[in-house]
Symmetry: C2
Subunit: 342 residues, 2 copies
DNA sequence: CTGAAAGCGCTTACAG
DNA sequence: CTGAAAGCGCTTACAG
């Protein structure tokens, strides 16, 4: 690689015949610089091809211009449904507009998520952090709260009233509405398959579902609630088990499209008709839900907007010390074949 | 936010009763430190909760520990097929293992991709850059080459023999093989729908396709080659147009699953049987190709491995000044219903 | 094996 | 409106 030979602020200062302070003020567009000198300095910067060194500036200002995003590790959690990439897209777009870069980190074999976060913060590599998911008893959230480091959360915190900036859908309401909708379709025995019970979003959806069951005077039965993970296998497995229940459900709500897809495959292979025998509704509105052999009803959570707002909240937290803000992003139920009136 | 009050190397030095130089040497695990002092310093670091400031270290060493990744802007290009997220996953994993963080950048409304890159480099925010796609006449590649900044490319450069580290599949061969395979299935009139002609990968696939057509003594006809973009609409549109050709094709190769999916939808809606009337083969092996009503043959390019290797190459370039290295990642054709023997 | 000193490239009170 | 000086928190020849 060619020798760096970086042009520095001092070079510009010499050439322009002013002090480094003045050049610095021109860079930061500070007030109280005469138009004449400003002009001259700008010209010299241009002629020398000067560009300010972001690292040096970071050190002096104690501010990096970076936002840390911690990626989940398991690929299945990330890329098999569109949530993560879509949210990331919103994050990157919004960060760019606010003048921040995104530092993407992840846990390595050697360290867990919390340690990744600590490294980012203690190494002063970022000004703030976005957490892309909210777990129950989330130690990352606890840590960030405890040191009052600026962060925002996609999802809801597991504790209330703790000043955490977060952006979420009303997942309780979404599940409630979905369940009610199924009862309107005449379904009387609605099961649920929930993926990853460690996530707050799962918890909320289960609660919304239960609430709707109660209010509809349907009998809720723990056996109708299946807990698994974000993969097709969970769908295959519980798709089968549903059929073994004493009173076979006539509908099932699944908390993720990939799981729902697996369940539908297994059910159809066993000659169960969807939606006649069992209706299916799900979350995330992925390509699968739209293009499955039997397209299925699914809730669009607007992941892009969640990402967008998470950055806006975070920037407010970093720059204006804002806390305790909550933003609700609307969801949308896309009704399809799998819950058609029969 | 609580006052930073960062514990510095100097604090540790004072407490341990040594010079800052010594502490620094302990941090970097430099040789020639007596075990005794090393022990003592380590103990003090621990007691004070000291953690080295990455920014200060960057400035002193002129090295950031960051790798820049420039995201494409158009969402369709990114997230509707699994290539980008999968490659990113490989990049993040590999970077973490090599001790680098990923700085994700993108063009804003104000600046194009080249300017984003320039900002990263001239601001000294990254030690190297990964380009996630290779365009024909790619100005980012030209710029990076011209200043000899460490970078690696996913895809092949549009010029040869210029020392660019890159990792790619043999896309020429993949398209060639796919075409030959269709002729073996008895197809004699094979069309192609290519997405985004500005990409090198598209160019190579077109070339492979043409070569196979020639070698099979089939007549190549410019009219059978359709050029569009990475979306279903392209599939819809050319799926229709194919049927209007003087001699109707009995097979079509598409360079992306989403486009292929669109084409299949339109063809089936017009009562064309797949594969009996028209066979379809495509690229990227996405969820769609597997789970489409008519599952279709698709080439898996191993995006995860492409990302992994891109980082390995880049790290070699950064740390050992390695240039001119090319890595080939194997592809795999997944044969499905859409090219079944009839 | 260890320390004093200079330096990485900026910013920012303070003073005028 | 502008400058001199100190400082951000580290590293690294140089010297011993």
């Amino acid at each position: 690689m060619i020798k760096k030979n970086q042009v520095t602020l001092n070079d510009v200062a010499k050439k322009a015949g002013v002090s480094p302070s003045t050049v610095s003020r021109v860079i930061s567009n500070s007030s109280r610089i005469s138009d004449a000198t400003k002009e001259r300095v700008l010209k010299c910067m241009d002629e020398l091809g000067y560009y300010p060194n972001a690292i040096a500036r970071s050190l002096a200002k104690n501010k990096t211009g970076n936002i840390g995003v911690i990626m989940p590790t398991r690929s299945e959690d990330i890329f098999l449904n569109p949530f993560f990439p879509e949210a990331l897209r919103g994050i990157v777009r919004s960060a760019a507009n606010a003048g921040y870069d995104i530092l993407l980190s992840t846990n390595t074999e050697l360290e867990n998520e919390l340690n990744s976060i600590k490294n980012l913060i203690r190494g002063s590599k970022v000004d703030g952090i976005v957490l892309m998911s909210s777990k129950i008893d989330d130690e990352s959230i606890d840590y960030l709260s405890s040191i009052d480091f600026p962060f925002s959360l996609i999802g809801s915190p597991y504790k209330v009233d703790n000043g955490i900036n977060h952006v979420d859908n009303d997942n309780f309401m979404a599940a409630y509405e979905l369940t009610m909708y199924l009862t309107l379709m005449g379904k009387k025995n609605i099961a649920m398959i929930a993926a990853d019970p460690s996530l707050m979003v799962t918890k909320k959806r289960i609660e919304g579902y239960k609430k709707a069951i109660e209010e509809s005077n349907l009998n809720f039965n723990e056996k109708q609630l299946f807990i698994g993970s974000f993969d097709e296998e969970t769908g295959y497995k519980y798709g089968r088990e549903i059929l073994e229940l004493d009173s076979r459900p006539d509908a099932v709500i699944v908390t993720d499209d990939l799981v729902a897809f697996g369940a539908i495959q297994v059910l159809e292979s066993l000659n169960i008709r969807i939606p006649e025998d069992i209706a299916v509704a799900s979350f995330n509105n992925s390509v699968l839900s739209r293009y499955s052999q039997t397209p299925f009803t699914s809730v669009d959570v607007n992941a892009y907007d969640l990402g967008l707002e998470a950055i806006d909240l975070l920037v407010e937290a970093i720059e204006n010390d804002v806390r305790n803000r909550k933003v609700l992003i609307p969801y949308k139920i896309h009704k399809r074949e799998s819950t058609r009136i029969v």
